[in-house]
Symmetry: C2
Subunit: 333 residues, 2 copies
């Protein structure tokens, strides 16, 4: 019998979550039953979309249940197996993060071949965030030659891949992020104009300086003021990939939308929301292209790592304070 | 020498235009020069988009010039010709409305074959408003079998054609308009659920009652509260054709956008603006289909007519007070 720890949703947040919403609990883990394996998680991810699951509302993913362990992407190692398809030492991906070990039927796991990448890359650049960047830029925003691309949350797990794919394809890229460290990172990855939105009194003016002729594509991770600036800077027929609006996720009372939304008509803009799971058909193409870009040094990545399951709430809360440079991860073993 | 009258832009409005912004002026009209004809306008149209041209801002159509005659769609009759391509009695379409007669080179005119329709229909159902409805519904909103369609400004020149095309194609249609007379008209043309937005304390609640399972297509002529209601009622993957936002056109200070715009992400919505002139390639297909629908009695129309050029400002201002049922027109002769 092993003792595992898991983090449960203790109460639902109103506005910005706090540590009181989480509870660290120890549970007994029996030997895995037939068809099951026991997995020790090595890495788990925290992502902005999890904030929505803390609310008791119907959405594209069901809410977390009160008093039960939270869920999310994780990479782990099989430590005991009761199924011929997996053996101890195998690496597996699962949606069973927020715990340091678990038993699960093999059908809930995906065996991981890292192709020489570190395993946690599959929670970031090579995983869901990377695919999100790829889908949003190429399919939703219909990136085409000559487009000027604006990315908000540009130093984050998704945004930094968007910037690098656009650069790899030869585009002018404007990235917005908060603080000098992130801006330096954006310059490192080749972004043409890096905007420190925290230092700009007028984001629209800053964007217009960076893109005096306007933008053709906006990859939105932030919403709010960034979306308003993008509407003003948009050229006719610009396309907006609406990936997320982290500026809104913790609002108790939703702030008003952009007051210049009317520009969507006269400029003939297309504003389209998407969720990566609806575009799983692009996975193989993405992995093939990504491998090439990584080999050629065109795509790199950063990680912000918290150590230990007990730090997972800190890592998660840090997302909303902009504490992550690149992918926010928790190292569990 | 003929004396013609024209309406000039005397001053630019701030907020809602008033009569003081217009000036009725008499001008001398010489005989038409070589390659020119003289046209007596029979009908002119007033349309919401003209409000934008009264501002001195760059947009998809240039602003009206101060002190010059305004412009807009018109149907007229050639009364004198100095070019072999047109003869007295021919009907012509032009963008030279807001005047009762004019001289113009034949290249500025389009000869009109009415195919048995009244000539003013080419300013409405068979003209730009009809094509706008067709383009927005079929191309921009990608109407497909089974879609539930919501239309705002549903009793207007564009909206009433949207409703009828959607009904002709077998869809459930919810139309919103202001006042009992318009609601009665919507029922006459077969709209399944007609919402009198002026009588509804909560437009979102009214829309959810009309479409308890949500909407798949929103054809937006209004913006504001209607757009917010549509976002709430939208099913996943709904498409919004953004044709206009008349609720905003006269705002001195733009009102905030919809506070539920964040739904665009989770519901994977597509919000797309368009201008009919970018889709002129659909004109022939539209005219063919429209002729069939009119013959089969599936598409009918209403007109609200002001008589005399001097009433044109009244007709135009009436658009923003919802005074028109169907196409707002000015009969000039």
């Amino acid at each position: 019998m092993t003792v595992a720890r898991e983090i449960r949703l203790k109460s639902r947040p109103s506005g910005m979550p706090t540590h009181d919403n989480f509870e660290l609990v120890s549970v007994d883990l029996p030997e895995p039953g037939p068809g099951q394996v026991q997995v020790r998680n090595l890495w788990m991810t925290v992502d902005p979309y999890m904030r929505g699951r803390m609310n008791d509302v119907k959405s594209y993913v069901p809410p977390f249940a009160l008093g039960e362990a939270m869920q999310g992407g994780a990479v782990g190692e099989v430590v005991a197996s009761n199924d011929p398809s997996l053996k101890p030492g195998d690496l597996v991906q699962s949606m069973l993060g927020w715990r340091d070990a678990f038993n699960a039927p093999v059908g809930a796991l995906q065996k991981l071949d890292t192709h020489g990448l570190p395993p946690q890359a599959f929670l970031g650049v090579a995983g869901m965030p990377g695919l999100t960047a790829y889908v949003g830029l190429l399919r939703i925003a219909s990136l085409k030659d000559g487009d000027v691309v604006f990315v908000s949350g540009a130093a984050g797990a998704v945004g930094s891949v968007v910037c690098q794919i656009a650069k790899a394809k030869g585009h002018t890229v404007i990235g917005s992020a908060g603080g000098p460290e992130k801006v330096a990172f954006l310059k490192d990855i080749g972004v043409d104009h890096a905007i420190d939105y925290k230092a700009e009194p007028d984001l629209t003016a800053a964007l217009m300086r960076a893109a005096p002729d306007g933008i053709d594509v906006y990859f939105d991770n932030v919403g709010g003021e960034h979306l308003e600036a993008a509407l003003t800077a948009a050229r006719p027929f610009a396309r907006f990939a609406e990936c997320g609006m982290i500026s809104m996720y913790n609002a108790n009372e939703l702030p008003p939308g952009p007051k210049n939304l009317m520009l969507v008509v006269g400029k003939q803009l297309r504003i389209q929301g998407f969720i990566v799971s609806s575009h799983a058909d692009m996975q193989a193409e993405f992995q093939r292209e990504l491998a090439g870009w990584v080999r050629e040094g065109k795509i790199t990545w950063k990680e912000t790592v918290f150590e230990g399951l007990e730090r997972a709430p800190d890592a998660f809360l840090g997302l909303f304070k902009g504490e992550n440079l690149g992918k926010m991860l928790v190292k569990l073993a």
